[in-house]
């Protein structure tokens, strides 16, 4: 009888609901008891008291049991339902037609367990026990005049006592009262009850299938989530992420970081030595976000690096990468790329830009300034796109800052953009800082600007210092 683990939680919740129902019933009984004592309800004193008090005691016992096992025991479900039926039937036997609605409560409640069998069981048990209570109530409970048939001409005289007594004194036989109660009271009530039972069975079955499908969806989401986390780790590992990257090289210092807005993103940076004297740096941004962008990013990164390692010029690398990507790009994804190759011995930097943001350069001891370089079209956008090289020289102490549009397009709660001006300002707060510190400064400025708004785009930056 141990419940399916899938239904464990819902069963505990249902037990809790049952306890709450019993608690409310107990309160109502206390109220009835108080009103009876106060004389507002003119009921048959002694029997009423004992019935009500017994019901309250039963409820208390059930509640204590629920509390002890913290609503969590496989036998609590039948115990609660049987207890509930007995308590309600006891009240029904006393108050008869006044509390007709009590009959449906256990079966409605049972549907919360999402088990059709249990609801059918409850329905049958209710039928039997309430029949017994109707049988007993016919002669002991509140009388319903509609069921009393008397020989024509019978006179009943109110004596100030109870109606039931008057009826009995007038010669109504117990047999007649029981027969008529079962036929005129219980039977129509049971017919209506059976409709509620059918509806409850349906709710139970539907609830069950919903729990099962929800469980399936949850496990699917959990699987996708764990795959995404793994993908995120793989993506992060693909980028060079050990700093300082070239501990043996004192001619330059380099730092980079990537914070995707989702688990995986389409931004990337890359840097590697082509030979002893040439350092290649890449900053790129794939259109869109998430998994599609991440897949495209992986391919772009590898094609770019392979082309670069062949010793081509930046423009040639971009041209060849564009040709390779356009060959198989039915989804029309594209990537913006800034790629530069630094000749470490001389500081000569040759670069080419495929639709990427303007780089920011600080010459010597000067300030960071936006370099409005020439732009080619994005990579993957159009076959045969042409790219041009340009050249600049980095003096000692010069810095180069590369970024993706996530930085200038960081948006605050008022939907203002961070903008390139604020970014250059942030860079110039401490232009002589180390590359790592430069990135931290920009990141801090963006965070301060964005404040409470959610990070929407990837934040990717790279800073090179030529010493």
């Amino acid at each position: 009888m141990t419940p399916d683990p899938m239904f464990q939680e819902t069963e505990v919740q249902a037990n809790r609901l049952g306890a709450l129902m019993l608690f409310c019933s107990g309160l109502i009984l206390l109220l009835i008891l108080a009103l009876t004592i106060a004389g507002v309800f003119p009921l048959k004193g002694k029997l009423m008291y004992s019935t009500t008090i017994q019901a309250i005691v039963e409820i208390l016992i059930l509640l204590v049991i629920c509390k002890i096992v913290k609503n969590n025991a496989w036998w609590l479900k039948p115990l609660l339902l049987i207890g509930m039926i007995i308590v309600f039937a006891r009240l029904d036997s006393m108050l008869t037609h006044k509390v007709a609605i009590l009959m449906v409560l256990p079966v409605v409640f049972s549907s919360r367990y999402f088990s059709r069998k249990l609801t059918i069981f409850t329905s049958i048990l209710t039928t039997v026990i309430f029949a017994a209570s109707a049988f007993w109530g016919a002669t002991h409970g509140l009388i319903n005049l509609n069921i009393v048939t008397m020989p024509a001409g019978t006179e009943m005289i109110a004596t100030g006592g109870f109606l039931g007594d008057a009826v009995q004194n007038a010669g109504a036989s117990n047999e007649m009262l029981i027969r008529n109660t079962l036929l005129y009271d219980y039977f129509p009530k049971w017919l209506m009850f059976s409709i509620v039972s059918i509806i409850s069975c349906n709710i139970a079955r539907r609830g069950r299938s919903m729990v099962i499908s929800q469980h399936e969806k949850d496990s699917k989401v959990a699987r996708i989530e764990s795959e995404l986390n793994l993908a995120s780790a793989i993506q992060a590992d693909m980028l060079p992420n050990i700093f300082p990257p070239f501990p043996g090289r004192s001619e330059f210092d380099l730092y980079a970081s990537m914070n995707p807005a989702k688990e995986v993103g389409g931004d990337f940076y890359d840097f590697f030595l082509i030979d002893d004297d040439h350092l290649c740096m890449v900053m790129a941004d794939v259109s869109g976000k998430g998994v599609p962008a991440a897949l495209f990013m992986m391919a772009s990164k590898i094609i770019l690096a392979n082309n670069a390692m062949m010793g081509k010029s930046p423009a040639q690398i971009l041209t060849d990468t564009n040709a390779a990507i356009c060959a198989n790009n039915r989804e029309e994804m594209f990537v913006t790329v800034w790629l530069g190759i630094l000749e470490i011995s001389t500081g000569k930097l040759i670069a080419s830009n495929a639709g990427h943001e303007y780089p920011v350069v600080k010459h010597g001891n000067g300030a960071f300034e936006l370099l409005k370089d020439k732009h080619g079209f994005v990579i993957g956008g159009m076959e045969g796109a042409k790219y041009k090289d340009y050249e600049l020289t980095l003096e000692h102490g010069s810095k180069l800052f590369l970024y993706t549009d996530g930085v200038p397009e960081a948006t605050n709660a008022q939907t203002e953009l961070f903008g390139v001006e604020r970014m250059v300002e942030a860079l110039n707060k401490d232009p002589s800082a180390s590359p790592e510190q430069v990135l931290k400064n920009v990141h801090a400025s963006v965070d301060e600007f964005v404040n409470e708004a959610e990070q929407f785009d990837d934040l990717t930056m790279l800073c090179l210092e030529y010493k």
Binding site: D285, V286, S287, G288, K289, G290, E332, M333, F334, T336, A354, G355, H356, E357, Y358, H375, G376, F377, V378, G381, M382, A385, D405, E409, L417, D457
Partner: protein
């Protein structure tokens, strides 16, 4: 938020995207484009009320441009400064017909 208004007349369609064209809203425009593209000879994109365009939005423009190259022409008009800057930076100003 993106509102898309469009008019179609004798094979000429004009689309007025209004708001922000980004990762979230780009699929809406893509869907609207796919619906009207068949049989179109001229496509006009009126960007007067477009506040912002992200790379995902540019991708939709690129797809439309490629589709229209094969069956007619496409032009973009009323481009504001912010959007024009993005077109310039990404090289889109070279492949789009901007008026």
């Amino acid at each position: 938020m993106l509102n898309i208004n469009k008019t179609i007349e004798n094979g000429t369609a004009t689309i007025f995207p209004e708001g922000r064209l980004d990762t979230v809203t780009a699929p809406e425009l893509e869907k609207a484009m796919q619906e009207i593209l068949p049989g179109l000879t001229t496509l006009v994109l009126d960007l007067e009320k477009l506040d912002y365009i992200s790379s995902a939005g540019l991708r939709v423009l690129l797809s439309a441009q490629k589709a229209m190259n094969a069956q007619g022409s496409m032009k973009v008009c009323h481009v504001n400064e912010t959007v024009m800057e993005i077109f310039d930076v990404t090289g889109f100003s070279d492949i789009l017909t901007i008026e």
